[in-house]
């Protein structure tokens, strides 16, 4: 702020002594270039975002306030009736419960596993690139293909997993008939796909941690575990926040995996694995009630905002008690 106010004050004083018209056009062009170019460079994102993000968001809000049929189009203005209707449906709450449950079953183990795997990959390994590429392989597989394979493995009577369970003397699990096992199965698909991706992000962040910190810790007699807890984790804080935020947004919008989990794609006979996005699709495209689907979309948006803020607040506290100043200074060092 201080640097901005200074020149404006100086300008009126210097103006009378110089003729402003003498300033060459190319010089002015250069000034504009300096001032405007940065905005121009980042503008594609914001232009695209306004078209594909902001406009649909607002328009969806507009749709949610109307009777709106998928094929028939706009109907009467109904205020918040769609919202009250949706909030009164047992399926909406079931969908919310399932979504949060699947989100927890996927995000929590995923982030923990990703950090641990990244820490192992960060150690001195032979054929480093091979292992690092290896963890990313599942990410290359299309989610629908993953879902097809996993839903065969998780079939209730004839699936591989239940067969194995029975062979080792355990009772088979109702992967489709019971809600919680269904959530675990779907979370497994998500974890299969995304753990490697997050591992690489954590790995990149770990390699940016200055090695002298570890050397100092070793001299102080810190064990590997102590180093991990007291150096690695605190230094990863911004990355953890990033990963947790993206997996929150992704996890709450989960669609492909539950959609493909059985042949009908309706989230189960008793909606055991109906997620909010599946419910949105069901309302809008199966029952052609776009107004109600838009209301669900807005509710989902608000839920994601709440979750993201809550997660941000929680993850920000990671190791924030221990010497925050040092960490901040150290964080800038590697550059």
């Amino acid at each position: 702020m201080a640097t901005q106010t200074a020149p404006t004050r100086a300008r009126p004083a210097s103006d009378p002594s110089r003729s402003p018209r003498r300033v060459g056009f190319s010089q002015r062009l250069g000034k504009w270039d300096v001032k405007l170019s940065p905005y121009l460079y980042i503008s594609p994102f914001f232009i695209i975002f306004a078209i594909t993000g902001l406009f649909p968001l607002i328009y969806t809000g507009w749709v949610s306030l109307h009777d709106w049929d998928l094929l028939g189009g706009q109907g009467d203005f109904v205020g918040f009736e769609n919202f009250t209707q949706v909030l009164g449906q047992a399926y909406f709450w079931k969908a919310l419960r399932n979504t949060i449950s699947i989100f927890l079953w996927s995000s929590v183990p995923q982030v923990i596993a990703a950090i641990v795997i990244a820490a192992m990959l960060d150690a001195n390994l032979r054929a480093k690139t091979f292992w690092r590429m290896g963890v990313l392989l599942p990410y290359v597989v299309a989610p629908v293909a993953v879902a097809l394979v996993f839903s065969k493995m998780f079939a209730d009577d004839s699936g591989l997993i239940n067969t194995v369970l029975e062979n080792i003397g355990l009772s088979p699990v109702g992967w489709h008939s019971e809600a919680m096992p269904a959530h675990v199965a779907i979370a497994t698909m998500v974890n299969f796909r995304w753990t490697g991706y997050n591992t690489l992000i954590f790995l990149a962040a770990m390699q940016a941690i200055p090695r002298d910190l570890y050397e100092a810790a070793v001299i102080d007699g810190a064990s590997r575990w102590r180093q991990f807890i007291s150096i690695t984790i605190p230094m990863l804080r911004p990355t953890i926040i990033f990963v947790v935020l993206t997996s929150t947004i992704g996890g709450l919008q989960i669609y492909d995996e539950p959609r493909m989990y059985d042949q009908m794609g309706q989230g189960g006979n008793d909606r055991q694995w109906l997620t909010v996005t599946l419910y949105l699709y069901e309302l809008g495209w199966r029952n052609t009630n776009l107004g109600r689907a838009a209301a669900v979309a807005w509710l989902l948006f608000m839920i994601i905002v709440v979750f993201a803020v809550a997660n941000y607040l929680i993850t920000r506290r990671i190791a924030s008690d221990s010497a925050p100043k040092q960490r901040r200074v150290a964080g800038r060092n590697p550059r």
Binding site: G30, D33, S37, L40, Y41, S43, P44, I47, I48, I51, L70, L71, Q89, A90, S151, K152, A155, D156, D157, S158, G159, G174, H176, S177, E178, D262, Q263, M264, G265, Q266, G268, N269, D270, Q272, Y281, W285, R286, N287, T288, L290
Partner: protein
């Protein structure tokens, strides 16, 4: 000098970036119009798409059509279930793009489609005059006389059974005797369930595959199950007949294998002696044959409880968004001609809806090797003649019926509910739809 050039370069790059993104957008939306955008420029070669579901027996026919019309390439998109096909249909119709040039539609959701008849090409032409029975044409004709779809098949139902499992349980195996066992011409649902009890007493194998499937057979014999004809008022939850059928199914869950039709376990159960009997509309033969490949003993009896039944049957339509409506119409016309539907019947058992095909001599000669050389042409012709009820299916038929299948599966497959609580959930769902 160097810095200005760099700057100019960067500026150009920025502008080019925006331009790229902008053009990327526009070409992206063009692509959605159809995969054939590239080939559309030349008049010579065109690609037609056709979407069907389950098994329609069209593969050899489409090959033949491409051979006869070298300028046309056909892409066949086959959905696993009618539900999936309907989802995709709704989405693409609303989006205004993405539908195939020729779209297969099942009778259960045809009424819904008829509401948007302006989105379809009028298919009326002299060549299809008198091709079908009037009731079949009526289902696809708007009040002002526009023909939206060409009838493909109908689904007269027989009873498919495993003769080897019947033998093991001490029941007759010959298909004529089995027909008699189920009650012959006056077969009733009580007979059906009685045979089930008899079978269950002597065998470990469940009698039929799915209660929801048996429900489907029974509900298709009601004239107006869920909606009042004309007004489309939803009466599903008050209809005593529907409740009766539901209660009957619920009273016989011990005869059911508790499988969900089209599900993974259902698919696999064909290979593991999962059940002995299935209500089989003609098009189901192709499904059974595909799933039960290598299994011996399937046969089909010329009998159906409650006086004949029709399950399913479909239409081919040409959406207005098609780029080649004329060519698509010609393809649909050709596919639904009696000769072609006879081939489809031979391939997958889809019984032709065409009068000429139903009455032809060829159809009587058609047998099916997989079903112990059963004269399926003759059997399904009799089954089709036994159908007396053309059930009314209004705009909400599909979601209500679908919810009912789930209600039965909740009890039979998942065990999450008992008969009463599952019924209550269904009522709540129907109220949310209506």
């Amino acid at each position: 000098m160097r810095t200005t050039r760099k700057r100019a370069l960067a500026l150009t790059a920025g502008i080019a970036g925006i331009a790229l993104v902008a053009t990327g957008c526009s070409s992206g939306s063009d692509d959605e119009g159809g995969d054939d955008a590239g080939s559309g420029d030349s008049d010579e070669k065109i690609t037609l798409t056709i979407s069907t579901f389950n098994e329609w027996g069209y593969e050899p026919l489409l090959e033949q059509y491409m051979d006869e019309n070298p300028s046309i390439t056909i892409e066949h998109n086959k959905f696993g279930t009618s539900n999936e096909a309907r989802d995709q249909f709704n989405t693409s119709l609303a989006a205004g793009s993405g539908l195939a040039d020729v779209v297969g539609i099942e009778i259960d959701w045809m009424t819904e489609v008829m509401q948007y008849s302006d989105q379809f090409t009028d298919l009326a032409s002299d060549s299809v005059e008198g091709r079908w029975q009037d009731w079949k044409v009526g289902q696809a004709t708007t009040p002002d006389g526009k023909l939206v779809g060409y009838g493909t098949d109908i689904g007269p139902e027989g009873i498919a059974y495993r003769s080897d499992l019947f033998a093991a349980a001490g029941l007759p195996t010959d298909r004529a005797e089995v027909a008699e066992l189920f009650g012959g011409e006056d077969a009733t649902w009580d007979d059906f369930f009685a045979v089930g009890e008899q079978f269950a007493a002597a065998s470990e194998v469940p009698f039929y595959d799915s209660g929801a499937a048996v429900y489907q057979g029974m509900v298709n014999q009601l004239e107006a199950a869920y909606e009042t004809p004309g007004t489309d008022e939803v009466i599903a939850t008050e209809n005593a007949d529907v409740k009766d059928i539901y209660d009957t199914i619920m009273a016989h869950t011990e005869l059911s294998a508790g499988l969900q039709q089209w599900g993974e376990d259902w698919n696999n159960s064909f290979q593991t002696d999962g059940f002995a009997v299935m209500l089989a509309p003609s098009w189901m033969l192709g499904v059974i044959e595909g799933q039960a490949e290598g299994v011996e003993g399937w046969d089909i009896a010329d009998v159906f409880p409650g006086g004949g039944g029709n399950w399913g049957g479909s239409f081919l339509t040409v959406p207005a968004q098609s780029k080649y409506p004329e060519e698509a119409k010609a393809l649909a016309d050709w596919l639904t001609a009696p000769e072609q539907q006879l081939v489809a019947f031979q391939t997958s058992g889809n019984f032709p809806s065409q009068v000429e095909a139903q009455e032809s001599e060829e159809i009587k000669a058609i047998t099916n090797e997989f079903f112990n050389d059963a004269p399926i042409g003759e059997i399904f012709a009799t089954r089709a003649a036994a159908v007396t009820v053309a059930p009314y299916k209004g705009a909400n038929y599909f979601p209500i019926n679908d919810a009912m299948a789930q209600a039965i599966n909740r009890v039979e497959v998942d065990g999450t509910d008992d008969a009463t609580s599952s019924w209550d959930k269904w009522v709540a769902e129907v109220e949310a739809i209506g």
